[in-house]
């Protein structure tokens, strides 16, 4: 477990040495700031409800950029060999990488606190939905990160990892509509997999256990599959 923190620490430092983290953060803040401004101006409401739904779309685009290098780069450059010839286990590497991506996610979310700060400064917003909305955004993005990590474990090529991540997230995003088209049992399963359906209650101030379980299952699945991928690569 200690090794996972060591891996996470190194990864986070590397994030902030490379320009990628700053570009991603800047882009995210610019886009969400724009959305925040537009939504508040039009709705005249001291609430983040509209913003939360839109922000989760933004994560669809920035998560692949964050997760693509996590394991793909180690495999391409061969540093995974250094890691795996040290007394470190595969799951510790995977968990460490994942914690690093969560660290970056937290940094991004902390920076967005400026939006509710505006609302509190000039309005009287309802605190409950803001807190639950943040919980929802965090859980959803955390699930996205796990999907991205898995994609990154499958290839040595960061671009492929990013494209696969985006594709998988898009499927999770659209699966409700897909389910309605398909219908029947398959349709029901597809609808259940929809991240949209599981997200919608959070900005309304409702935290459902089933939604939390849904996101955490994706996280667990992503981590387990990534660990298996790393183990399997050695068995070629």
């Amino acid at each position: 477990m200690k090794n996972a923190y060591v891996v996470a620490e190194r990864e986070l430092k590397s994030f902030f040495i490379s320009p990628l983290a700053y570009v991603v953060i800047a882009l995210f803040l610019a886009m969400s700031g724009l959305l925040f401004g537009l939504i508040v101006q039009q709705s005249r409401e001291a609430s983040l409800r509209g913003l939360f739904s839109n922000v989760s779309v933004l994560f669809l685009f920035i998560v692949p950029a964050i997760t693509m290098r996590l394991l793909a780069e180690e495999q391409r450059s061969g540093t995974i060999e250094v890691l795996l010839t040290h007394p470190v286990q595969e799951w510790e590497i995977v968990l460490g990488k994942y914690l690093a991506s969560l660290g970056l996610l937290l940094a991004i979310l902390v920076l967005t606190l400026v939006f509710p700060a505006f609302l509190y400064a000039w309005g009287n917003p309802d605190t409950g939905p803001i807190v639950s909305g943040y919980v929802g955004v965090f859980l959803q993005a955390a699930a996205f990160m796990a999907v991205g990590l898995w994609a990154s474990s499958m290839t040595q090529n960061q671009i492929i990892a990013a494209v696969v991540t985006f594709g998988l997230l898009l499927i999770l995003w659209l699966s409700d509509s897909l389910g309605q088209v398909v219908g029947g049992t398959v349709g029901a399963i597809l609808s259940y997999l929809s991240v949209l359906n599981h997200f919608s209650d959070f900005p309304r101030g409702v935290i459902n256990l089933k939604d939390v379980v849904f996101y955490l299952s994706i996280v667990a699945g992503g981590l387990v599959l990534s660990t298996l991928m790393i183990q399997a690569r050695r068995l070629r």
Binding site: N3, V6, V7, I17, T79, V82, H86, P87
Partner: protein, 317 residues
Amino acid sequence: MIRVEHLTKHYGPRVAVADVTFHVEKGEILGFLGPNGAGKTTTMRMLTGYLPPTSGRAEVNGFDVVHQSLKARGSIGYLPEAVPMHPEMSVRSYLDYLGKLTGVRNRRAAVNLAMEKARIEHRAKDQIGKLSKGLRQRVGIAQALLGDPPVLIMDEPTSGLDPKQIIDTRNLIKSLQSDHTVVLSTHILPEVAATCSRVVIIANGRVVAEDTPENLDRRLKGAESLLVAVRGKPENVVAALRRVPKVLKVEPSGERTRGQTADVHAFSVECAVHADVRESIAQAVVQGGWGLLEMRQAQMNLEEIFLQLTREGGSPS
């Protein structure tokens, strides 16, 4: 310290390492010699726990590399062939990171010591990505030495270094001999003679010979041979040399001698083992009225041994 028993690795249908067995005792430096693609790296990767063997077993420092992998890995300092590193990190932070993973005690001092031994301490703050190939190699050596592990496994430790650094690195490896066990791989033959106490020669995944460098040399030398450079008509010289007692064979040699001109020819002269024919040859040349320009012992070097061994036993099975 290291026991390798019938180690075999298949990559799909391709056999990379076949039934390799060898032991290394504490304090030994074992040279792993073979052409590129012989299976050196694959064997080392199995020893370091990176690749699981298809069959057979290996033990490092008393720990099975598969079943007690973490403990085995904890006893090994490994220098991988390509020296993969994170280019954005500084030398010190990279070593510090690996020190944390290994659980090195007194980490700051250990990192300093490893950098000092590998002579990279003057670049401690530099980004690894900005270092030259030779300097990166030294960082790799520092990485292997970090925490003073009892077993060192080094895949081509001197590749990319300049001649002075090569000598320094060999001396460093030799200095570690007393309290470490070292396995190093190379395809450069003089390296083995210069550093190793024992050699395992591997070709096409199989061990074709295992001995000390001196013994291998002796074993393969059926006859002593001399290189003789003479100014004179080559046919006459050959005829005269063949008449010298105990000379078995005289052939024109491709080797050049200093100040060679058109009428100077080099010959390789083979004679019976332990027969010193040098004086008789000198006499024969002088009697013929030719000029003797050079005569030296042409030792069969590891290169020739190697070619001979791989020709004998290295054909793909």
